[in-house]
Every structure is written in structure tokens, then in C-alpha cells.
């Protein structure tokens, strides 16, 4: 126990003596929360719309009024020349073009449906789908308006109403912040802890430790504990920021969050350590960590929905610790899920942690 203490003491001194470290530890959460939570959003506002109205009638102007009065649209161009709009689409100046053909009013009045062309820049497929859906719903509401004038009696139909639970305002920030906190804790665990051992290898001090009677387990515990503590402190700092700065409610139990985090950290730190035992330089170790981290993050559900991935990807994802933690964090923070709701993933994370840590201890050699 005392041996572990001496290693921890040394690690803490080294971390805090490095002038780069403190700012990184305390600025990183702030910057990440600020940038990520605002930058990362799929909400579509300000669709830049180009209008070509070749009918120029009361009916067509009424339809266009629906777009002009909507907050979602910004009319950034208007002319009778549809080709000009197309050019703007190609230049990336506009997102969408609406083309009303001549004879629009006549068709509406006569009851044979008038056709309106909606051209969307679809390079960003998901954004395009959303913009398209908005536009269709605007046209739909125009439809209803016209038809209510024309038809005397209300039709027989099923009505739809909807409610959004846990986040009625559909605020994307609320959704992103638990994930960003996970990212934060992960970066600290994987990089600081993992890189640390390789660094000793690279500068040669590890030899000096390897000739001492220290046990592998003691060495690794002494190495990991300081970063475990730093990462949990970081999480506390991040949680405080999100509550105070972003007014994100923490619905669930905050101790449960820390319980999960402390198990999760063992997994990522074990991964970092394992990588550092199979590499010789910081450059290699960083590369390998990046490689896994990028894959883990992309597949974690932080930015994109996990459920719609193909079966094989879901299977792969059972090995992705970040996916588990993000899921659990969102459940606890946003929905107030309790311990019984997360027992299964928790058991899994624990098993994962034990496995990867044993692997790292086994792979760490005092002899070459």
C-alpha cells in the first residue's frame, strides 16, 4: 500500500508541475462544452431558399407567404429564371429552390393538383431529408388552408397528437452534454494514463523501476489511481459547468453517475495502459489510441443514432465502452434512470474493466 502511495505522490507532482497540464485539465471541459454543445446540432434553422415563381398569381403568392413568414426559411434569392437558382445551388449559396410553374393558380382552382418543384442540395443527406420534410409540411399546411375553403364538411380521419418527454423543447444541447462529459473523461483516462507509461519507457526511467522489487500490480495501481482521481474531478467540474452554465438538469442520482464513471474509467484506462504496453514511443501509442478512439466515438451514438446501424456494427459495438457509458449517462442525467435500469450494462462494464486490466497487467513486462 505504501509503495502505491509513493508512486501516486510522484505522478501527482509530475502532472501538476507540467505547466501545460493544469490549463488543459480545466480549460478543456470548458472549451469542449462551449464549442461542442453549440456546434453539434442537427437542428435546421435558416434554410436558404431561392424562389422562382413563374405564375405570379394570388394563389402562388399565398403559398410563398407561408415560406416568407416561417422562421425556418431565409429567402436568399428570387427570380423568374429557374436556371439562375440552380447555379446558386451549385455554388453552395442556397440550400433549396422552390419552383412554381405557370398555370399554378388555374390548377389549384380547378381542383386538379398543381405541381411545385422542390430542389434540395442533398450532399448532406440527413439535413436534406429534414429540409425536405419542413418544406413538404409547409406545403401541406397551405393545402389544408385551401381545402378548408373549398370543402364544406370536415372529413372523417384519424387525428395525431404528439408529446416529447424529458426534453419538451427539443433542445439539442441537453442531449449532447452528457455525451460530451463522457468524451472528456475518456480523453483523460485514455491519453493521460496511457501515454504516461510509454513516456517512462521512452525516456528510460522505467528501467530504474523495473530493477526494483516493486510488484506489477502495485506499479499499475500507482500509475492509474492519480488519473482516475483527476478524471473523476474533471467529471465533477464538467457536471458543475453544465448545471451552472447550461442549466442542464440532472434528473437522476448524481452518485450513480460517479459510480458508473469510476467503473468506466477502469475500462478506458486499462485500454490506454494496454496500448502503452504494446508500443515503444509516445507517437505510436498516440496513434494507436487515436485509431481506436475515433472508431469508438463515431460508433458510440454521440453524434449519430446507434439503433439504425447494421447488425454487424451493433455486434462490434458490444466492445465499445464509450457506447455503454454515453447511453447510461443520458439515461441517468436526462431520464432519471435508476440502478435497476442500468444493472446489465454496469455488469458488462465491470467485466470489461477486469478483463482489460488483467490483460494490461499480464502484458506489462518487467523483463524484456
Amino acid at each position: 500500500m505504501r509503495t502505491i502511495f509513493y508512486i501516486m505522490q510522484k505522478e501527482f507532482i509530475q502532472v501538476f508541475r507540467n505547466r501545460m497540464m493544469l490549463p488543459v485539465i480545466f480549460l478543456m471541459p470548458l472549451v469542449q462544452l462551449l464549442i461542442l454543445s453549440y456546434a453539434v446540432t442537427f437542428e435546421i434553422k435558416n434554410i436558404r431558399l431561392y424562389i422562382t415563381d413563374n405564375d405570379n398569381s394570388v394563389a402562388s403568392r399565398a403559398l410563398l407567404e407561408h415560406f416568407r413568414s416561417s422562421d425556418f426559411y431565409h429567402i436568399s434569392g428570387e427570380s423568374a429564371d429557374a436556371l439562375h437558382g440552380l447555379e446558386e445551388l451549385k455554388e453552395g449559396e442556397i440550400h433549396q429552390q422552390l419552383v412554381i410553374l405557370p398555370g399554378f393558380e388555374k390548377q389549384v382552382v380547378s381542383g386538379s393538383p398543381a405541381r411545385v418543384q422542390v430542389l434540395t442540395d442533398a450532399i448532406n443527406g440527413s439535413a436534406a431529408a429534414l429540409m425536405n420534410a419542413y418544406t413538404l409540411s409547409v406545403i401541406e399546411s397551405y393545402n389544408r388552408e385551401v381545402l378548408s375553403h373549398m370543402q364544406g364538411f370536415p372529413p372523417k380521419m384519424v387525428q395525431v397528437s404528439w408529446r416529447y418527454w424529458f426534453n419538451p423543447a427539443l433542445d439539442y444541447k441537453t442531449y449532447m452534454i452528457p455525451g460530451i462529459l463522457v468524451l472528456l473523461v475518456t480523453l483523460i483516462g485514455m491519453f493521460l494514463a496511457g501515454m504516461n507509461v510509454v513516456r517512462e519507457k521512452e525516456i528510460g526511467t522505467i528501467e530504474q523501476i523495473n530493477v526494483t522489487p516493486i510488484r506489477k500490480v502495485q506499479f499499475i495501481a500507482g500509475k492509474l489511481l492519480p488519473f482516475w482521481i483527476i478524471a473523476l474531478a474533471e467529471l465533477a467540474f464538467g457536471l458543475a459547468l453544465s448545471v451552472l452554465l447550461f442549466n442542464i438538469p440532472i434528473v437522476g442520482n448524481i452518485f450513480l453517475i460517479f459510480l458508473v464513471a469510476s467503473v468506466y474509467l477502469v475500462v478506458v484506462m486499462g485500454l490506454g495502459l494496454f496500448i502503452s504496453t504494446i508500443t515503444n514511443t509516445q507517437q505510436q501509442s498516440m496513434f494507436l489510441s487515436w485509431f481506436f478512439l475515433v472508431i469508438f466515438i463515431l460508433m458510440s451514438g454521440l453524434f449519430t443514432p446507434v439503433e439504425s446501424m447494421p447488425h454487424w456494427a451493433l455486434q462490434l459495438n458490444t466492445l465499445n465502452p464509450i457506447a455503454y457509458f454515453i447511453r447510461i449517462m443520458r439515461m441517468i442525467m436526462l431520464k432519471g434512470s435508476g440502478f435497476q435500469d442500468i444493472v446489465k450494462p454496469m455488469l458488462y462494464l465491470s467485466a470489461y474493466g477486469i478483463t482489460i486490466l488483467s490483460l494490461a497487467v499480464w502484458r506489462y513486462r518487467k523483463t524484456s
Binding site: 510522484k10 508541475r17 525516456i203 530504474q208 523501476i209 530493477v211 526494483t212 522489487p213 510488484r215 518487467k366
Partner: protein, 254 residues
């Protein structure tokens, strides 16, 4: 059979030590023994296999074959026992440059399970003898190479090991510091610590009780410096070494 065994006061015994890296034979059937309290010089040109051997004796590397005992323990099975009884100063400087002198002492002393008070006492004692007590709180990176080297040695013998292994301890150090360094080695030997030192400075061989000379992975000679000079009819250890190297080259040609 796992109990420590010491034969006639030998703290290191190696019989037919072989270390191969693939086809390359780094250590070719080395046989030697080191007596308690001795300063044993392990000489050879760069690349002769000195570091490989020293790493095996310290338990940092496994031998390919041979019987080797250090401090009475078998190096195949009892490396952890050995590690409690030895100190090691590697070729690469290996104190933490971003820690202070005292923090380094405290850390390494702690790893050897020394009591804090004892670490303090010995550290003060050692720094006092070096005349740098006031540098106790200086960060290693700010110190000149000579002092760092002496500190690395002090840390290696902080826990009073039975044997201390020094791998090229005077590499890249000025002659005056080298001289002082060897005085430190003598002082350590006087307290009963066995010193196993590798070097390629042949003049330093004169300071040792006995020396072995390695050429291309083999021990070509092993005796006291006086006896070696007599045998090879040479004026200095440098001449002994050159004669050995030349003889080896001729053998290679044949």
C-alpha cells in the same frame, strides 16, 4: 532449492551464460564470479555485450541458457528476490528530470519500502557528502550533468543494496567528475557493497579489484589488473585491451 545459496563468498556466479537475439550471439558462454565487497570491472568495446549481460544479472532480461546466480538467487526463477538486493544505474540517465532531487530520493526509497525518516536521513547524508545539501529542492533538469550522474549513483545505493550494477556510469563525463565518481564507488565498496561496473575507459580498469575483458560477446581475459598486465606483457590496461582485440581479429581471419 529456492533458498539463497552463496558459494565461498561469491555474490554473483555465472556459468556458461548465453544470450541470443535470433542468430546473433550477444553473450557467448560467459563464466565468471564476483566476490562479496569486490569492485568488479566488466570491460569491453562498445557493442561487446556488456549491457546485455548486466541486464540479465539485474533481471531485466532473460538469459538463453547457463546457470546464473545473483546474491545467491537463481536469475530464472527468483528475479524478484534478486531485485530486493541490488541497485542499478543504467546507461541512460534515469532520474525524473521534472522532479526535485529530494522527490527522486523519496520516490525510489519509497519503492524499496524504506521508512520516510530513513530516506531523509540517508539522502541528507549523501547530499552532505557530495556537498550539495542546498540543491535538495532543485529540479533535476536544472542541474549540470556531473551532479546528475552522482545523484543517479546515490539513488542506486540509497537502499544499501548488496550489489550495485553500474552500466557505463561515467559516459560523457569530464575527467574531474570521473575521478570524484570513482571516489564515490570506493566509499560504497568500503561499506560492503559489491560493485559491478561496466566501462570502456581502460584507465578506469586500474581502479577495479578484478576485471574481465569482453570481446565480441566472449570473455577473453579475467584477472586482477596487475596480473593481466603481467600476462600480456603490457604497460597499461589500454595495451592489454588492444593486444586482446588484435589477437581476436587475427583469429577471426583464420
Amino acid at each position: 532449492m529456492y533458498e539463497a545459496k552463496e558459494n565461498n563468498g561469491n555474490v554473483i556466479e555465472a556459468v556458461d551464460l548465453v544470450k541470443r537475439f535470433g542468430n546473433f550471439v550477444a553473450n557467448d558462454r560467459l563464466t565468471f564470479s564476483v566476490q562479496r565487497g569486490e569492485i568488479f570491472g566488466f570491460l569491453g568495446a562498445n557493442g561487446a555485450g556488456k549491457t546485455t549481460a548486466i541486464r540479465i544479472l539485474c533481471g531485466l532480461s532473460k538469459p538463453t541458457s547457463g546457470q546464473i546466480r545473483v546474491a545467491g538467487y537463481d536469475v530464472y526463477t527468483r528475479t524478484e528476490k534478486i531485485k530486493q538486493r541490488i541497485g542499478y544505474m543504467s546507461q541512460r540517465f534515469s532520474l525524473y528530470e521534472d522532479l526535485t532531487v529530494w522527490e527522486n530520493f523519496r520516490f525510489f526509497g519509497g519503492i524499496y519500502r524504506m521508512k520516510s525518516a530513513l530516506i531523509r536521513e540517508r539522502a541528507d547524508q549523501m547530499l552532505g557528502r557530495l556537498g550539495i545539501l542546498e540543491l535538495s529542492d532543485a529540479v533535476i533538469a536544472s542541474l549540470p550533468p556531473g551532479i546528475r550522474q552522482k545523484l543517479a549513483f546515490s539513488v542506486a545505493i540509497l537502499h544499501k543494496p548488496e550489489i550495485v550494477f553500474l552500466d557505463e556510469p561515467t559516459g560523457g563525463v569530464d575527467p574531474v567528475t570521473r575521478r570524484q565518481f570513482w571516489e564515490m564507488i570506493y566509499e560504497a565498496a568500503a561499506t560492503g557493497i559489491t560493485v559491478f561496473v561496466t566501462t570502456h575507459y581502460m584507465d578506469e580498469a586500474e581502479y577495479c579489484n578484478r576485471v574481465s575483458i569482453m570481446v565480441d560477446g566472449k570473455i577473453e581475459a579475467l584477472d586482477t589488473p596487475e596480473q593481466l598486465k603481467k600476462t600480456y606483457n603490457a604497460g597499461s590496461m589500454n595495451d592489454v585491451f588492444l593486444k586482446l582485440a588484435r589477437r581476436n581479429e587475427e583469429q577471426m581471419k583464420e
